[in-house]
Assembly symmetry: C2
Homo-oligomer: 626 residues x 2
């Protein structure tokens, strides 16, 4: 039984395969805390907000209830016709949660939501509350901005989660009818149309994987090929905004709206591995590598421009005006995961790690119920006359794509820890977890124990092993300059090289192998082509990017006047005020006005970037002027 | 007869007074060329574009013609209800031109336009083609976004120009009826309302100055006081976007949409000097000084953010994503001029000079018929997949505020050269010009000759003088570190101090005084608080900011890899390829990959920033990494 998001079919040309998610259990430590918070606090908060903001009631109106549609139109005439997707993403998160463990109140709440969704669907399969209630009822009149396919895509993803985890096909029945309605109109012999917001493509591939019906895969492939030929027009921002400027196979670089591009490329990888389409896969890989090299923040954030939530020029990575939408960081994890499965290249796991610990986690508060939409790497102490609360996390957004996206990613996060192939098991992310895998040689059970990311030691116990040789691969993160392997058996400490360590042997139950990742504080120089952070350094430790908040600098030293003191070393320190086990860094700085560091050996306290803005929000910066 | 824009009434508390514009004639040199281009090329091009884009036809529809309204709605639902203002700004430019010299074809073309405007006005005085033709006909239903007052403001400004220059009151009659219609509804005992886009306030003050009817001044003052109390709501961008977050007298800093703020403050100065309102004037001055110190580009550009065309945080001045709208630079000239008249502080003339030679002039091509809306200080050689032509000037814009704004400013530019007060004449800007002034002592005539800005020598001949002492003041620009005064009579060279030189004497006809401004190439360090250009220098000479374009660097040296070589000196050189008399600068750079400048003494050619993007557009940068 497949119980994971992204489940390539048996014939797919994926290099690695996901494990079934019940076989992956995060049991303690950094991620266990966050997953518990997501389940117990964030997801209930999400349903509360979805109710308050009208997203659930909108579907109720489509189902026949009376009331006013809540599309959050502002006085400039903007409306948000895509609020159904918030409901679907929340349902997807609940689906993964119920797969991890039963939860009666959550299941009961979801039952009500599912019933409303099912009731909202028209007899012809069409489902979009905006069009049905206030949009005149005629489907697909505004593919560019209407988000109708996009919403169905999220409906399908929710349905897939419920099918795979708890075998509940109520949503799947709705999703199949909705997809069939689209296929009837837009299938191979039908109308040519693509959505202004990609996303349905990857969902349709999953729907084929779940149902076995290849029509959906065919439709996804068709939508990919149709894009890039001007079907969407130029809109406000130009055809590149929705990746309609060049065919998906040909575009050399990412372009336009970051989330749109990343979701599109997720679908392209899914189609490519199902159809053994090397050209399509290569096109995505080419774009990805250019993206990581030229347009990715240190935090893994992507998409620097506010105006159109878009990728900027190469090396246009301003820290202050970084858009770095939480959803883009999430989408980068989704895409890197697909590319990791397709190719087996550990570099994609590095990208997942960087994005998760920094760009993604920064999007949610330590209390689990306040969010950031954009994730800048600098906030000035003195700011423009913005509305009150600017720079602070909020409980929800009028356009609320990010919070439920965080929920569904965190609910499925354990899936990203490890994979298998015929030869063995690959560990990509480190967490205290119990892992089972059925490989060709037989059943493997591993028990992983670690205080990662605070400590670099990862201990893997072999709990069960086939009586045949197999290979255990352990990723050595790209940031790690010194990794040591100890064991199994009496094997002494030895250096582990870059990329990943592959241990092929006839394993015995009870054996242990230790990967010791050295994680000193690192002082990172930016690429000299990034104009906006010239003359600065950043602090990193392990997978974590650090930042300095105003609260951790002396009151007579405005954040904007701090200068890095290269003569002294940064020092890792415990920061219990930020959280249990949290390691901060004391950063040597030159006091304002000083030209010499010796008179006053000043330090500023840096904390992990993901933890910023959980105290009173004043200034923050990742990049520190030298 | 007043023949100038901004003509404070006799009782106004202005420190300086404008000269009547026929008394100011630019006769040769840098500005004569640009004014001729504006008159002969840009303004006819403007009418052609206004016709093509439908702005004139829209008014024709309001006057009863048949056809489709052209509001340039895009598929995101954006419409532009303010295209009437393009027509009015064009008419204003023509008004100033006809005041400078008769032009029969231009006058004939304008006659047709004026007739259409007059015919479009409703019997009740209301005039707005958008509302009349497609907006349902009910005025003032959407003050936040409708731009109805804003358009009337521009109508008034055009009417004032025609009244003052050629005594033609056809537009004035229309403007008075339109203003009366607004006053009837929004006057002292009427509805409380302000426009989402300020601008009408300064126009209403001018209308009082022209008509003597103080109702308009009262209405302007009322609108200023009403703003800042939440009448407009939060819109998409928050109340600060339209300066409705704090009362005009209280806001300590500029905020929100840059052009809106600057137009608002123009009106505030106009009201303040007419009503002797020191507090109001002081509020504007306070904002201005903060703006110049913390939010102004080296080019005089203002408003760094694309998303809402807004001022950013203090020192948020990215060169690549500079919005620096052409209209904002123009508005800064309008505001600085008002503050100069109000206070006599030469620093405002410095600001006008910096903005005009850089931020404003960069907005129009050397051929006079292509424009920039935004004026970045950096364009990368390799760019995002933007629509073709990104970074290039275009003949017009869907939202075409900037081109006709340039036209009206250039048509009235001679007005900004000099002022008078009871004691004498003040020269603020240097151009080869003939100047008359009627001061208390009697009539003064000056003949100014200069090759400014290429050469720093300014020769002022006294052509006519009263037989009494008076004071000639000559501004010493803030950028000038060494100014020498020679004459009058046999007076030998002597240093001229900062600010301005005041020569009080009993002048004789035929006397000459020479101001010699030393203009070596300057290497400018940025304020260290501007994060985005840390570690860079800029090149300036006289009032001009320079930039390096890809066309002027060796083909094996990408612009992005150039580094300033501090060991060698920049050198001024003739650049006849850019234009007659143009002085460029050869900038010493370290070749890419080199760590030592000696092996290859490389230079990159810098040209005045205003002249960029007149060749094939590749990369450009003002700030050069050290």
């Amino acid at each position: 039984m497949s119980t994971s998001t992204v489940w390539p079919s048996a014939t797919a040309t994926s290099r690695l395969r996901p494990l079934e998610s019940p076989q992956l259990q995060i049991v303690d430590g950094f991620w266990a805390d966050r997953l518990r918070l997501n389940r117990e606090r964030t997801i209930p908060h999400g349903l509360d907000q979805i109710r308050r903001r009208g997203a659930l009631d909108n579907l109720g109106l489509a189902a026949g209830a009376q009331g006013d549609y809540q599309a959050l139109a502002d006085s400039a005439g903007f409306t948000f016709p895509f609020l159904d997707s918030d409901v679907y993403k929340w349902l997807e998160a609940v689906g993964w949660e119920l797969g991890r463990a039963a939860d009666s109140p959550l299941a009961t709440a979801a039952d009500e939501v599912i019933a409303i969704v099912a009731a909202a669907q028209r007899p012809d399969g069409y489902l979009n509350s905006y069009v049905q209630v206030v949009g005149g009822g005629t489907p697909h009149r505004d593919l560019a901005w209407g988000h109708e396919f996009y919403c169905v895509g999220h409906l399908i993803q929710a349905a897939v989660a419920w099918h795979r985890t708890v075998g509940d096909d109520r949503l799947l029945a709705v999703a199949v009818r909705a997809a069939d309605r689209i296929d009837d109109e837009f299938g191979p012999t039908g109308r040519s149309g693509v959505d202004g917001h990609p996303g349905i493509e990857m969902a349709l591939v999953e729907l084929t994987r779940v149902t076995g019906d290849r029509r959906y895969l065919t439709l996804a492939a068709r939508m990919l090929e149709l894009r890039g030929h001007g079907l969407l027009g130029h809109g406000r921002f130009g055809a590149q905004y929705w990746q309609d400027h060049q065919p998906v196979r040909q575009a050399a670089t990412v372009a336009g709206h970051a989330v749109r591009q990343l979701y599109l490329d997720c679908g392209a990888v899914d189609v490519a591995v199902e159809l053994d389409d090397h050209d399509l896969l290569a096109a995505v890989q080419r774009r990805w590598h250019d993206l990581v090299r030229t347009r990715t923040y240190l935090t893994g954030g992507m998409g620097s421009r506010h105006r159109d939530e878009a990728f900027g020029d190469p090396y246009e990575l301003p820290p202050d005006r970084a858009y770095a939408e939480t959803c883009a960081a999430i989408a980068s994890v989704m895409l890197a995961w697909r590319l990791l499965l397709a190719t087996g290249d550990a570099g994609y796991a590095d990208a997942i790690e960087r994005a998760m610990y920094n760009g993604v986690l920064a999007g949610i508060s330590l209390t689990g119920a306040r969010f950031f939409y954009t994730n800048p790497l600098q906030l000035r102490t003195l700011r423009a006359s913005d509305p009150p609360g600017h720079g602070e996390r909020v409980p929800w957004f009028p356009c609320a794509c990010c919070p439920p996206n965080l929920m569904r990613l965190l609910s499925s996060w354990q899936q990203y820890l490890a994979t298998s192939d015929n030869a063995g098991v690959q560990m990509h992310q480190y967490a205290t977890a119990d892992i089972q895998a059925d490989i060709a040689a037989g059943a493997v059970r591993l028990s992983v124990r670690t205080d990662y990311p605070w400590n670099g030691r990862v201990t893997v116990h072999i709990v069960q092993t086939p009586d045949q040789p197999w290979t255990l691969s352990l990723r050595v993160p790209q940031w790690c300059r010194s990794a040591t392997l100890i064991g199994p058996g009496g094997a002494g400490p030895r250096a582990a090289g870059e990329g990943s360590v592959a241990l092929s042997r006839h394993w015995q139950p009870g054996e242990t192998v230790i990967l010791d990742l050295d994680l000193p504080v690192r002082v990172t120089e930016p690429d000299p082509r990034i104009d906006a952070v010239r003359g600065c350094v950043a602090i990193e430790r392990g997978p974590l990017v650090y930042c300095i908040e105003s609260a951790d600098v002396a009151s007579d030293s405005p954040l904007e006047e701090l200068r890095w003191d290269p003569e002294r070393q940064p020092v890792a320190v415990a920061r219990p005020d930020i959280g249990d086990a949290v390691v901060g860094v004391n950063v040597p700085v030159v006091p304002p006005g000083s030209t010499d560091s010796s008179p006053a050996a000043t330090v500023a306290g840096a904390i992990p970037y993901f933890a910023w803005a959980n105290r009173r929000v004043q200034g923050m910066r990742v990049w520190i002027p030298r």
